[in-house]
Subunit: 408 residues, 2 copies
């Protein structure tokens, strides 16, 4: 628990880390606009490319940005300050505090996912050891929706909206040209984003007809049987597959395909930025069935950075988490992360809560069992009810009533 | 030349063929609503899955659809009647006319690209030979923008808008995390859609930094040199590559990668629905340079079916071409295709012109030399001026002024 403290005065540094989202800049701008309200926050600096920018002393002065420009950046996807994937070692922290001291940084905000929360936690703990007085907050973002303590995380709803829209269109494409279509969706350990494909369904026969999540063991054999069954019923089959699907030993299917795998400093295997998994699954279905038209697409980075379609709820919440972190740091708390909690009741509403850094650092959360169908190849109504209010309005999909002309 | 004819009376059959687009249903609904205005058009039937639906006598009665439902379908991407890739043989035509006669079909409209225009042309010529009186029109659509006679084709502008938006977001993603990012865009022989990536550029250092089109020979060696040069300058590099890029012998690079290739009845090699080309290019750059972070995405079918973002100009023109085809067939012309011509002058405006079927059938057009940079790895200002009014408004992209904090 962070103890309630006296206000301190000094400069603020904010940075972004990990994979971008469509609304990560909303959190950044929410934080900057809030900072301007607090007299004890003097300089408002942005570090370029996360903690790497601190080590290199590459800061921009966010007080020199006009409000209209801040608002324009808020509406823009991806990390406006640049990002990085870097876990600080103790010796890095010594350097970080030397730089922070030089610039009188007393407020530090790090916008990111579980790895970035871990970085924030390390910085916070090392600051205490070094007796460097620092207000240290993590601001959540991740399209994977896998931060503990949170009902959902900023970035997820917009990524989910993209995935749902993509499946809406792709289901229609598959309905027109038939065959089997496999779409690979981001999500290393948590299947939330892949599950969002289910929101694309409008009519009873709409795809995705099958949804495979990393929370369940993936069997190639069962996959082929599932596809055959759906194809027999509908004459076509649309499949949503998480990039993180793994075999019974926990090895990602994607990692089985390549001899060499890239690993970042947080120990994450690179899964995105390649079409290999989709192609492998597609080849497997071609070989195991008599279906001639089998295609695979990998949605890739579009899921986190496509402009102009962010969820309104997501944009609002991302901004509010950023603002609250600054407010708490400026007025009463030494450290923490902001978590989104959903209020009980029929109407969608949330509250925000400060939680200890260690509670969101490193480990991730997964889809609860109640969100996954018994057969492990679909989501439940409970998941739809959970995700729908986050994503908000989706395009209308029309379809002919289709009264048949009597055969002559 | 179709001769001006007396009006005939009978039923109308309309169908969709080839790859879907975001606005192909606008053409369909434009045609249906126009047909309702003409007393000599009695039944308005839709054939399911192109000419395959005729052979199977699978028709729906489009007079039984409410106007509000027709409008909902118009706004929906992909082919609402279903599609097919099938070139009719003379013996198929005998069957087609037997069915058409049974249902008194005297107006036939086929919405599609160059292959569908070829099908329409074959049906028209065979109908003449068989002395089966038929008004036979092709209605253009193709995201590839490769129909002869046309300034541009319905479907292209919306696909181009998707590609531009995708590159806008992906350029920001690459700016945040650096490295090299390769995106593979649809386009078998014509580079228009890949070229549209250039519309994503807002700031001088924005990607795509390199654009490779099927109109120029692709050299792996030059590609690696280009990437190295851009990376040295910007510390990052975003590349747009057409799926149809080919080597000096005209062999598609994508086809070089796989021993088995799928070919449809029009003789087209399957290039989409696989990530192999992007992965191959990505591996090549990793091996040939010292750049560690190299990623590839293949945009795939999203380019032609993503809902909710269609270009307004595209939607309007698609509807008008569909309506005009029906109007001409109902009132004065026996056959043809509708071509879009751009009016001279500063303000964007078009006219529509009936052209002979043979002029758009089979052969495709390519990017003119004036649209391609001398080095063959970018587009020109002339292309931007051409494409911008078609695509219309794109999302605003904000960026920090970024005043540096003076180093201490």
């Amino acid at each position: 628990m962070a103890k309630k403290t006296e206000q301190i005065t000094g400069n603020m540094l904010i940075a972004q880390s990990g994979g971008p989202t469509m609304v990560i800049n909303q959190s950044l701008i929410g934080a900057v606009l809030e900072a301007k309200k607090h007299k004890n926050i003097k300089g408002i600096y942005g570090s370029l490319h996360g903690i790497q920018g601190i080590l290199k002393e590459e800061f921009i002065d966010l007080r020199k940005e006009s409000v209209s420009n801040l608002e324009a950046v808020a509406q823009t996807p991806s990390s406006a300050l640049g990002s990085v994937r870097k876990k600080p070692k103790p010796e890095d922290c010594v350097k970080l505090f030397a730089v922070m001291k030089k610039y009188n940084i007393r407020f530090f905000f790090y916008i990111g996912g579980n790895d970035s929360a871990e970085t924030t936690h390390i910085v916070n703990e090392e600051a205490k050891k070094a007796k460097y007085e620092l207000r240290c907050f993590h601001i959540p973002k991740t399209i994977d929706n896998d931060l503990r303590e949170n009902d959902h995380t900023p970035g997820f709803a917009s990524g989910a909206k993209f995935v749902a829209m993509a499946f809406m269109g792709d289901n229609l494409d598959n309905r027109a040209l038939q065959g089997v279509k496999i779409n690979v969706v981001m999500g290393r350990h948590a299947g939330f984003l892949t599950a969002a494909a289910a929101l694309a369904r409008v009519y009873p026969d709409d795809g995705p007809h099958l949804i495979y999540l990393p929370e369940r063991v993936f069997s190639m054999d069962k996959f082929a049987r599932d596809v055959k069954r759906v194809f027999k019923k509908h004459g076509r089959c649309v499949v949503a597959v998480s990039e993180g699907i793994s075999d019974k030993d926990g090895t990602p299917i994607a990692a089985l395909l390549t001899a060499e795998v890239e690993v970042d400093s947080h120990g994450n295997v690179q899964l995105s930025g390649s079409g290999a998994l989709g192609d492998r699954l597609s080849d497997y279905i071609k070989n195991k069935t008599q279906i001639s038209r089998v295609r695979a697409d990998t949605f890739g980075y579009l899921q986190r950075s496509f402009p102009g379609i962010a969820s309104k709820v997501d944009a609002k919440e991302a901004r509010e988490t950023g603002a609250l972190a600054v407010k708490l740091a400026a007025t009463k708390d030494t450290d923490g992360s902001i978590a989104i909690k959903r209020k009980a009741g029929k109407k969608y509403a949330v509250t925000y809560k400060r939680v200890p850094l260690k509670n969101v650092a490193k480990e991730t959360r997964h889809m609860p069992d109640s969100f996954i169908s018994k057969a492990g190849n679909d989501v439940t109504r409970a998941f739809i009810n959970y995700a729908k209010p986050l994503v908000g309005e989706l395009p209308k999909i029309g379809r002919f009533k289709g009264v048949r002309v009597k055969k002559k």
